[in-house]
């Protein structure tokens, strides 16, 4: 069985070669960040192309030893960071990914927050630039509150973002995930890619290993048992394995958001012109209101080197309730008068779908179990749509707990509870906790995003119109436009409730 490609790969233009000299000069002037910048420039020309491995090239699960210190289920940002950090602590780590390569199943906006990587995996940050796994340095960040005809935009931009210390980078998950997994392998972890974990093996209550599905010749399939002292569950948003093991209850349709994403190819220079960014610099636009057609949800637009990604999503329950396919939302966004010019002539090169856990703080399951810990999306550790950072931070806390358990020679739930204790001290947890009422509020007010998106855009529009009237008349005009959308008493009530949950 060989992977079937339906489409020839587009070649990525490499405009950065020309500017390398200029940027190195600039880097030399910037002092502290010079190393990063130099590394970034030096290696831009060496960007790896994603490889498509064949199924038969996989390492066989029968070819690796069946006993390890740690088995990690899933090689997303959570699993690979855990494998990397644990291998660096000298543990014998096996991490297992169901995709033919890590990242081949994953979808993201996505952005990398450099300062947080600096905090969690500082030694990987120079490599991030040196090996140029990101797409563009984001120098334009905007939030668009959209109505049918108008857009109210708030944004920050400027050349400062293009200088170290960098803020955010755009990245493609199917590049960043395999790269991170590669770092774990380089640190000594063993990767078993192309195999699905079917279940956790338990001895009484204690998790002692996993059962992996594998082919036994022809189209026949069998299972192999792999044992470890501790199982790190990082299987992502759908807790199939952890639910079967009794660690996590299945989330409801209200708290799982379905995102669809389309990637459109456009030449690099054209992207820079349309989004008004400098060479090699990129833009991210968060979009609210109109994109989710009256439901609470979000979308975003990112520029990559030679493509633009647009994603939009809302809860599975919301889509089911109004009878909407998420692709309809995506097509509607693409046709919006403010977005269409940005993607015109773009050729669709990929269509993808993925869930984001939306339960927030209230959805966090029990994180430590006898012989197992749960990290990343599986643990509902996502703030809004941002989950890469919480995934990595939870991997770090879990690593400390696992190393401690290994030293004690005790992998009981009691010992592994160090992980949630450490996690609770992180900014990720505090942030999640602060947003806990907001999540509930949005769920009990399923149209609040849309209504107020229309209110603010309409109010902004009215205020922007120049008529021969006094400022008092103008205020009345704005208020009456708002009143057409919602009664003012409701505005006041919602404002009080919203303020209550926010602070």
């Amino acid at each position: 069985m060989v992977l079937r490609r339906r489409k020839a790969k587009t070649r990525r233009p490499r405009p950065w070669r020309k500017t390398a000299g200029r940027l190195v000069l600039r880097a030399a002037r910037t002092g502290a960040g010079a190393l990063l910048a130099c590394l970034a420039e030096r290696t831009r020309a060496r960007r790896p192309e994603p490889a498509l491995p064949k199924v038969e090239d996989r390492k066989s699960p029968t070819a690796i030893p069946n006993r390890h210190d740690v088995i990690v289920v899933g090689a997303g940002p959570a699993g690979s960071t855990a494998a990397y950090l644990m291998a660096r602590q000298g543990l014998d780590v096996l991490f297992i990914e169901r995709g033919p390569v890590p990242g081949s199943k994953n979808v993201g906006g996505a952005s990398i927050a450099v300062q947080i990587w600096q905090e969690v995996v500082p030694e990987l940050v120079p490599a991030l630039f040196e090996e140029h796994v990101y797409e563009r340095i984001l120098t334009r960040q905007e939030y668009w509150v959209m109505a049918d005809d108008y857009v109210l935009s708030v944004g920050v931009r400027g050349p400062g973002y293009a200088r170290p210390p960098y803020n955010r980078l755009s990245a493609i998950k199917s590049h960043i995930d395999p790269w991170l997994a590669g770092k774990a392998v380089a640190a000594g972890a063993t990767l078993l890619s192309g195999y699905r974990v079917d279940e956790v093996i338990k001895d009484g209550e204690q998790a002692v290993g996993v059962r992996v599905d594998h082919d036994v010749g022809g189209d026949g399939r069998g299972t192999r048992e792999l044992l470890a002292e501790v199982i790190v569950i990082a299987e992502g948003v759908n807790p199939i394995v952890s639910h079967k093991a009794g660690f996590v209850s299945m989330p409801g349709a209200e708290v799982q958001s379905l995102y669809v994403k389309e990637t459109l190819a456009l030449p690099a220079e054209e992207l820079e012109r349309r989004f008004g960014t400098g060479k090699d610099e990129g833009a991210v636009i968060g979009i609210y209101g109109y994109p989710t057609a009256g439901l609470n949800g979000t979308g975003s637009i990112y520029t990559n080197v030679a493509s633009v990604g647009i994603n939009v999503g809302t809860s599975v329950a919301g889509l089911a309730r109004v009878g909407l396919n998420p692709n309809e939302l995506l097509e509607r966004v693409k046709a919006h008068p403010s977005i269409r010019p940005l993607i015109e002539e773009g050729k669709t090169i990929e269509y993808s779908a993925h869930l984001i856990p939306d339960a927030g703080y209230n959805g966090v399951p029990k994180l430590a179990h006898p012989g197992a810990v749960i990290i990343g999306d599986t643990a509902s550790l996502v703030n809004g749509t941002l989950g890469i950072v919480p995934a990595m931070v939870s991997a770090k806390a879990a690593t400390q707990a696992v190393v401690h358990a290994k030293m004690k020679g005790d992998f009981s739930e009691q010992t592994l509870r160090l992980y949630p204790r450490l996690l609770r001290q992180t900014f990720v947890w505090r942030d999640l906790r602060l947003n806990r009422y907001a999540e509930d509020y949005l769920r009990s007010h399923p149209h609040v995003f849309d209504t107020y998106a229309r209110v603010v855009t309409q109010a902004a529009h009215e205020a922007s119109m120049v008529y021969p009237d006094t400022s008092r008349q103008r205020r009345r005009r704005v208020l009456s436009a708002v009143r057409k959308i919602v009664p003012l008493t409701k505005v006041a009530r919602d404002a009080v409730q919203a303020a209550w949950v926010e602070f």
């Binding site: 199943k105 199939i240 799982q256 089911a320 009878g323 993808s352 993925h354």
Partner: protein
């Protein structure tokens, strides 16, 4: 003008797939789908149009109408274009959809994810 893709199933023609020998998506009790009342969200919400009404394309109104309720197999599952999002795990009010990821190494292959 960027291309428009009103049909989600057609849109998956842009993706790379390596379909597994056996499907991991199926209806636990296909006949149960004949009973009205669920609203048939599986037909509407799946981002890849994997669940296909065998009577041909139906609009949202029709899907909800009990007139279409019959016994027997009503829905085809085109698992070879499944994007593996897992939404079908949550959307059926009768929990009538079985979903698991395809066997290791198979299924969708995102290159720009």
């Amino acid at each position: 003008m960027a291309e428009m893709w009103p049909d989600p199933a057609a849109k998956t023609s842009r993706d790379v797939f390596n379909p597994a020998p056996a499907s991991e998506v199926w209806l636990k009790d296909p006949a149960a789908c004949g009973a009205p009342g669920c609203g048939r969200p599986c037909l509407v919400v799946c981002p890849a149009g994997v669940f296909e009404w065998l009577g041909g394309p139906v609009d949202a109104e029709e899907v909800r109408s009990p007139a279409l309720a019959q016994a027997g197999k009503l829905i085809a599952v085109r698992y070879d274009r499944c994007l593996e999002c897992g939404a079908c795990l949550y959307l059926c009010p009768r929990e009538n959809v079985h979903f698991n990821y395809p066997a290791g190494g198979y299924g969708v292959y995102y290159v720009h994810g």
